[in-house]
Symmetry: C2
Subunit: 273 residues, 2 copies
């Protein structure tokens, strides 16, 4: 154990480097090593201290428990060697993503941990696209739900079906099944919903449909996407209806709503150290 | 109308200045005028450009509609005079707080608007206190709900009662009534809950109780506080059980869990321009 080491659990936010917190940006610039999830954007990764070691964790394939244990041992191995160890997670580290599990494990092993919350993709990506999670008279509550439970179990959609706005993460691949379950649980088939695909990146794409259309398999979406279900989706026309209108030009430039070409979806390798 | 003006709807985050986004910090440093909610922390307000005009809006008393219209006209009046007008809101501007209403109104009036999401107090304050909104095997969803609807209407608590983790904002004054409604809607009376009072400030205070104790009026809390209901509250002992333990020293120093003295609750006047 290295008593000088500190491990930072840091939220990278939705992807824009200037949506990092000041604390996160400072830590990335000072880090000796950054262990980052694959989904963290390239724009954020460019803010890492150029002399730091960078470990990009692979996507989830195969045994998730074994992978998680490997990450924890990796964090510990780096904390024995370095002083400033940053564990970087997309969005906020405590909205899914096992941030709190890593925190609990590290505290139990006696490591000094600081947590740095991030702007949550679940809220910021819809909101900046013109779909606020709450709006007086339309939505007085929102729920954030995962579409994918461990062991492939099915979330109990009837428990969430009555919340005004539903924000579903990791639900793209099972969207038809989820939309069907929500309709059976009492949600109107004509209710609008919206996917924000590759949010806050130059490849952002907004896909709108009704819940019934999604249930019928009529809606093509690629992961990762944040999925919002609820009447707040209709506010988009007022807030960011026309991407090129001058009133939203900064956001429109940064998040052009063009359809992603198939090529743009294959991420080129990052030239990382 | 001043075509050079831009109005920025900016989230101030939960209170710590280093939890501001880089974009928010940059805009505060460049602003010609900042129109800020009262609840934004003093620490954040010190980051404002020292030559900027600062308008601190009063708390909500009396007619909310008239107050809201006054804010909109104020924003517009400043946008006619200045180039960089920042509307600063605590937490994230689109989690309650009427951020999207202001956005819609300004867009309709033809103003150039940029939105800057913030770290949401609803997620970050509980999480940094050791209560993550989600945790594998304990909570696969959370809902954020207001305890206070317009016109004094009662939220339909049975619609939210089955979501694993409930995060209730603006619910302190009606906590006994809300806890009772949640128990009647099927939530166990022995379920743990927790208030984070004055979160992310030196006066932070954590108050734990069961839902039944809150319903019975046994729990003393002051506004503002984020209220979390659910089994994730029990994770606090693993994550930040003892505030002074070395593993969490940075956070423990910044957010000491001491009971606030009555004096410390009266905010001294801010020496603002």
């Amino acid at each position: 154990m290295n008593p000088a080491a500190r491990i930072y659990l840091v939220g990278a936010g939705p992807g824009r480097a200037d949506w990092l917190t000041v604390r996160a940006a400072t830590l990335l610039a000072q880090a000796d090593v950054v262990i980052s999830d694959r989904l963290v954007s390239r724009e954020v990764l460019t803010k890492i201290n150029p002399t730091a070691e960078v470990v990009l964790l692979e996507e989830d394939h195969g045994n998730r428990e074994r992978r998680q244990l490997r990450i924890l041992h990796l964090l510990e191995a780096y904390a024995r060697r370095y002083r400033c160890v940053v564990r970087l997670k997309g969005g906020d580290p405590f909205v899914f993503g096992r941030g709190a599990e890593e925190w609990a494990w590290l505290v139990q092993r006696g490591w000094a941990v600081e947590v740095v919350p991030g702007v949550s993709s679940a809220i910021a990506l819809p909101a900046s696209a013109g779909i606020p999670p709450t709006f007086r008279g339309i939505s007085s509550a929102f729920a954030v739900v995962t579409g994918c439970l461990r062991g492939g179990a099915e979330p109990s959609w009837e428990r969430y079906a009555q919340v005004d706005t539903l924000i579903i993460l990791m639900g793209v691949s099972r969207r038809a099944q989820i939309a069907g379950a929500l309709i059976r649980a009492g949600r109107p088939a004509e209710q609008p919903c919206c996917f924000i695909e590759n949010g806050a990146t130059p490849r952002e794409r907004i896909i709108r449909a009704t819940l019934g259309e999604v249930a019928g398999g009529l809606c093509h979406v690629n992961s990762p996407a944040v999925w919002v279900v609820g009447d707040v989706v209709s506010l988009k026309d007022q807030l960011r209806g026309i991407a090129t209108q001058p009133t939203t030009s900064i956001l429109a430039t940064d998040h052009a709503e063009h359809p992603a070409s198939p090529d743009s979806l294959s991420e080129p390798e990052l030239g990382l150290r």
